[in-house]
């Protein structure tokens, strides 16, 4: 062997040199082993850190549909114009060398310096100069710029190129925009590996102009970005909620992203409650960048998983009918409507007025707009159907009647004289409650349809507080309905275990739904549905299903239809009497709810007008058709004139719309299945 031969040579000096060479290479070998084998991992990490940028790519947000598959929230393509800076690098260089630098040098002639010459030429000019000849003028001159100036001029060149392109495109698209210097330089220095947005949300006309005139222009791309859109605008806005751009997505995601593409997060409504399911799984794109940070190529590390579609129990047609009916109740109406399927608790419509347009939120709302939306009186953002609890007024007399019947202290035919007010020193002190009904003799039905306060206080007090509270608790008043977690209040209802500080006057108020009791329209609807269906209190259901179906973790009850919450154990005979009274309230010519009457659809209802400290709350709660109840409709209007005058007509219009809808739908067999 070559090496060992050398080591064995007699020449000691050459042997020493051989050993030296071996030693030197041994050191190199150990060094290379240390760097390439032992520390390889560390250097690979360094390599990744400097060469890769992970970008989070949000998934397509799931749609929200009504029970018939009508779209309530979907994604619409938005056309944006983006500029890919890495494709413009040669233009940057061209601008720099041919325009920016010459201009600068013209202003600073002192920077001119002689050009480099080859050694031979320099030797000759050196020689000629030494021997006294005139120095020849320098053939060409070049400027030598300090690094700081070069950096500045390069930035200037970049800005010129990009702002020229921006101006050219935006002018041609009839939406002239000027590129902001600081914005551009921030983009350039922080994230030049992603495209620079120039114009967003192009109109169809602009899309056409762009496609015709700019397709193929270097570095400029028109790209499609999905945007959330609510095709029915304000319809069911409170239920759907809205989404907002979220620039700091969950910090618990594992990957340390260098950049986030805009993602949206639900803030209220089902957009918030089902945000995880709707949002899907974000993907990760890895960008390979070069030493100056331009994108070289990209690859998807994990693909996005689109969000799941959410099907609501809402019937868009009924929802819209309820909305227009409520809007017609009075100018600047503030109120709520809930339409429920009494057979299973499905919420068919839930309206809160005034409403907002969720379409404006993804792009961001100004603080001025936000102020208007949160105006104290109108509070557009406030969901009155579930988040507002109001004194129920006379609609609570239904429960008072049940308490009285069950305690056998009142018979429907028993006559009672109402002097037009209620006054009892022991109960109310010196206070007196007006009856609302004219003075006269009343049996149950007449007292119910005339809404005699005196009658119900008289018998309610006889039934006793304990009984009244017990009946209310069977209907789970004062407890959340669970319709949307975090989106509702429980209302106020006395707790049978804790009645201290409760006075007889409060009990008198409770009999007629005043004072220390409040209901949300959703609670009123669940209660009315139970009255209508023979006593079954359902969990109101708003979510029909998630598509594709998959077990999800949610605070919500499972989405099974007709999820029974409680049997209110009502005596069918008592119910019969109450149904008749409610029917009479609508059908009798002097019933308070006569305005809810619909030809060919027998509706039973109860009006309510509750006094408040600032304004009165008017109600109409109802169900129909009487023969085989299917729908419960609760209408609540703040500062209405009266339950019968303001709310009953709204319910009437809704029933009319439902009747018409049922007729058209039964005509087309495709949707027949959806009716039950």
């Amino acid at each position: 062997m070559l090496i060992f031969d050398q080591l064995k040579r007699e020449d000691r000096k050459l042997r020493a040199i051989s050993l030296g060479v071996l030693l030197g290479f041994g050191i190199l070998l150990i060094g290379l082993w240390w760097v390439q084998i032992v520390s390889a991992k560390r250097y690979e990490e360094n390599l990744k850190n400097q060469q890769f940028r992970s970008v989070r790519v949000p998934a397509l947000r799931g749609k929200i549909l009504d029970r018939h598959g009508e779209s309530l929230a979907e994604n619409r393509p938005r056309f944006d114009v983006n500029l890919y800076l890495e494709d413009l690098r040669s233009q940057f260089t061209y601008e720099y060398t041919n325009h920016v630098v010459p201009e600068y040098v013209r202003q600073h002639p002192e920077l001119m310096q002689p050009v480099k010459q080859s050694a031979i030429k320099r030797f000759f000019s050196f020689a000629t100069e030494t021997f006294g000849a005139e120095p020849k003028p320098q053939p060409k001159a070049r400027a030598r710029l300090p690094l700081a100036v070069r950096t500045e001029l390069e930035a200037e060149a970049r800005y010129r190129v990009v702002s020229n392109i921006t101006a050219q495109i935006t002018t041609r698209l009839q939406n002239p925009a000027i590129l902001d210097t600081t914005l551009f330089s921030r983009h350039y220095y922080q994230k030049r590996y992603i495209p620079l947005p120039i114009l967003q949300n192009l109109t169809p006309k602009q899309v056409a102009i762009f496609a015709e005139q700019f397709t193929g222009l270097n570095g400029v791309e028109m790209e499609i970005q999905p945007t959330r859109t609510y095709p029915n605008e304000t319809s069911a806005a409170h239920l759907l909620g809205y989404i907002q751009r979220n620039d700091q997505p969950n910090t618990d995601e594992e990957i340390d992203y260098k950049y986030y593409l805009p993602d949206y997060v639900g803030i209220t409504g089902v957009e918030a409650s089902f945000d995880d399911a709707l949002r899907g799984q974000a993907g990760v794109k890895s960008l390979l960048v070069n030493n100056i940070g331009y994108r070289q190529r990209e690859e998807m590390l994990s693909v996005t998983e689109p969000g799941r579609n959410l099907v609501l129990t809402i019937d868009l047609k009924i929802q819209q009918a309820a909305e227009s009916a409520l809007a017609a109740a009075m100018p600047n109406v503030r109120g709520a409507v809930v339409v429920m399927d009494v057979r299973n608790g499905d919420v068919l419509a839930v309206v809160s007025a005034p409403a907002f347009d969720p379409n404006v939120f993804p792009a961001g709302v100004s603080s001025a707009e936000w102020k208007i939306l949160n105006n104290e009186k109108y509070s557009h953002m406030f969901n009155r159907a579930t988040y507002g609890a109001y004194p129920p007024g006379s609609i609570l007399k239904i429960l008072t009647a049940i308490a009285c019947f069950e305690n056998n202290i009142m018979s429907p035919s028993e006559m009672f004289h109402d002097p037009g007010y209620y006054q009892d020193q022991r109960v109310l002190g010196r206070r007196r409650i007006e009856s609302l009904a004219p003075a006269g003799d009343y049996d149950f039905k007449r007292a119910f349809l005339k809404s005699s306060n005196t009658y119900f206080i008289h018998f309610g007090l006889k039934a006793g507080l304990k009984k009244l509270v017990e009946v209310g608790e069977r209907f789970h008043l004062g407890e959340s309905t669970g319709v949307l977690p975090g989106e509702e209040v429980a209302g106020a209802y006395p707790d049978s275990n804790n009645l201290s500080g409760w006075y007889a006057g409060d009990t008198a108020n409770l009999c007629i739904g005043q004072g220390k009791v409040t209901l949300t329209p959703m609670q009123a609807a669940a209660m009315t549905a139970a009255i209508a269906n023979g006593g079954k209190l359902f969990w109101p259901r708003i979510i029909r299903e998630l598509l594709p179906p998959e077990a999800i973790d949610s605070d919500l009850k499972s989405f099974q239809p007709g999820s029974l919450r409680a049997d209110t154990r009502l005596n069918p005979r008592h119910l019969q009497i109450i149904h008749q009274a409610m029917l009479a309230d609508v059908e009798d010519k002097d019933g308070t709810g006569a305005a809810a009457r619909v030809e060919g659809f027998r509706v039973g209802g109860k009006t309510g007008t509750a006094e408040g400290t600032k304004e009165q709350t008017t109600w109409f709660t109802s169900f129909g058709p009487m023969e085989k109840p299917r729908y419960a409709v609760v209408v609540m209007v703040q500062a209405g004139v009266s339950g019968g005058g303001t709310c009953a007509p709204v319910a009437g219009k809704i029933y009319k719309a439902i009747l018409k809808l049922e007729q058209t739908r039964s005509a087309s067999p495709n949707t027949l299945a959806e009716l039950n």
Partner: protein, 403 residues
């Protein structure tokens, strides 16, 4: 015994050396191709302007020169060494007067389309001159005058190259010259004294650079600022003086990062290659420009090879160099006279110094210097000189002892 000698007599070339050199040339072409093709603007150049094609031309010229060199007996060459040496000294002076400046150093003379790096040729001329000078009878070498003359022959090109400035290339003259003296038979006591003295001097310089503040009156040796910075960076010291303001310190940190940028990137290249590397033309460090494109194909070609071929590739390159160097030592041992032996050892010492410094620099064993990797780095001067040096070895081999 007789037969092997006969066999040796038959071999005209030293074949292991020849094959190893051809192997290195092949690797050189392959990886200069790889390193330069990552650059788009280079890729679009016409063929004759491509770096790897140019390098192939240099290889051919160098090979031709080596063959021409072998026509003349090395003893004839040695007779002309004095002329060669002084021509190279003149060229070094010419660099100082008419040299082109790049990266703050004047190392090149512009010759029409080519840039000549005289320091490379000076090394060859120096080896020939030194070998010729030292091949005198051993007794004369004991004379102090001869020793100092030899030292002077080292010092002249050393000072001129140091002025370019090119500390790395200048320093190479010492190990080469000293090893030649050692083999020639200059008394060891002389060499030890000199090396000892030099060691103390280097230690003093280091202590001063590392520990004495720059504005101190104890400043004995004036190093160029960039040289100070390189040494500080190599030893991982803070560039800022201890009493620096935060702004100055930050400035110094940025400077330090810039100074160590090439080595940091070279280390990442070498380290990320791992055991087997990313594959030919798959390296990302230079193709994305992290390893500066200006140096990837010359001073840092080894990190390109190490990134793409991993530890396996590094070992292969080292193995080929080992074959070259040990062939050189074998040739030295078989040389017909002392001149041939000293000449061969000089070439071995030169090649070894270059290889050790360059590869060491790629893995931060050595400070950064502009020393090319023989036969692999891109560059006409380096390739020509490396091949001429190999030609000298073959020459000594061809005219070796005939027993």
């Amino acid at each position: 015994m007789y037969e092997t000698n006969l066999n040796e007599r038959k071999s005209f070339f030293d074949y292991p050396l020849l094959l190893a050199v051809l192997g290195l040339i092949g690797i050189g072409i392959a990886f200069i191709y790889s390193a330069s093709f990552a650059n788009e603007s280079v890729r679009e150049l016409p063929l004759f302007k491509q770096l790897y094609v140019k390098q192939m031309v240099w290889y051919s010229i160098g090979f031709g020169m080596a063959v021409v060199l072998c026509i003349f007996d090395y003893r004839t060459l040695a007779r002309w060494s004095l002329v060669g040496y002084w021509i190279s000294i003149l060229l070094l002076i010419a660099v100082m007067l008419f040299g082109t400046e790049r990266f703050g150093a004047k190392r090149w003379i512009l010759m029409g389309p080519f840039q000549l790096q005289p320091s490379e040729f000076a090394k060859i001329a120096f080896i020939l001159m030194m070998a010729n000078f030292l091949s005198r009878p051993k007794e004369e070498l004991r004379r102090g005058k001869i020793f100092f003359t030899a030292l002077g022959m080292i010092a002249l090109p050393f000072v001129l190259i140091l002025k370019e400035p090119d500390l790395g290339s200048a320093l190479v003259f010492f190990p080469v010259g000293l090893l030649m003296m050692f083999v020639a038979g200059v008394p060891l006591s002389y060499l030890f004294k000199f090396v000892g003295g030099g060691g103390v001097l280097v230690a003093l310089i280091l202590v001063e650079v590392l520990f004495v503040p720059i504005d101190s009156k104890f400043q004995l040796i004036r190093l160029e600022n960039y040289q100070r910075h390189r040494l500080l960076t190599y030893f991982g010291k803070d560039l800022a003086p201890p009493n620096a303001t935060p702004a100055e310190r930050k400035q110094a940190q940025i400077l330090q990062k810039n100074k160590s940028y090439n080595v940091d990137q070279a280390l990442i290249s070498v380290g990320s290659g791992g055991l087997t590397g990313k594959g030919w033309r798959e390296g990302t460090q230079y193709s994305l420009g992290f390893l500066p494109r200006a140096v990837a194909h010359n001073d840092f070609i080894f990190s390109v090879i190490a990134e793409e071929k991993g530890f396996v590739g590094s070992v292969m390159v080292l193995t080929l160099y080992t074959i070259v160097l040990f062939s050189g030592i074998k040739i030295a041992s078989q040389a017909r006279d002392r001149l041939g032996k000293i000449l061969a050892v000089g070439v071995v010492a030169l090649l070894f110094s270059h290889i050790f410094i360059n590869i060491g620099m790629n893995i931060r064993l050595m400070p950064v210097t502009g020393i090319p990797l023989p036969l692999l780095s891109y560059g006409g001067s380096s390739v020509l000189c490396s091949l001429i040096a190999i030609g000298i070895l073959q020459n000594v081999h061809m005219y070796r002892r005939a027993y």
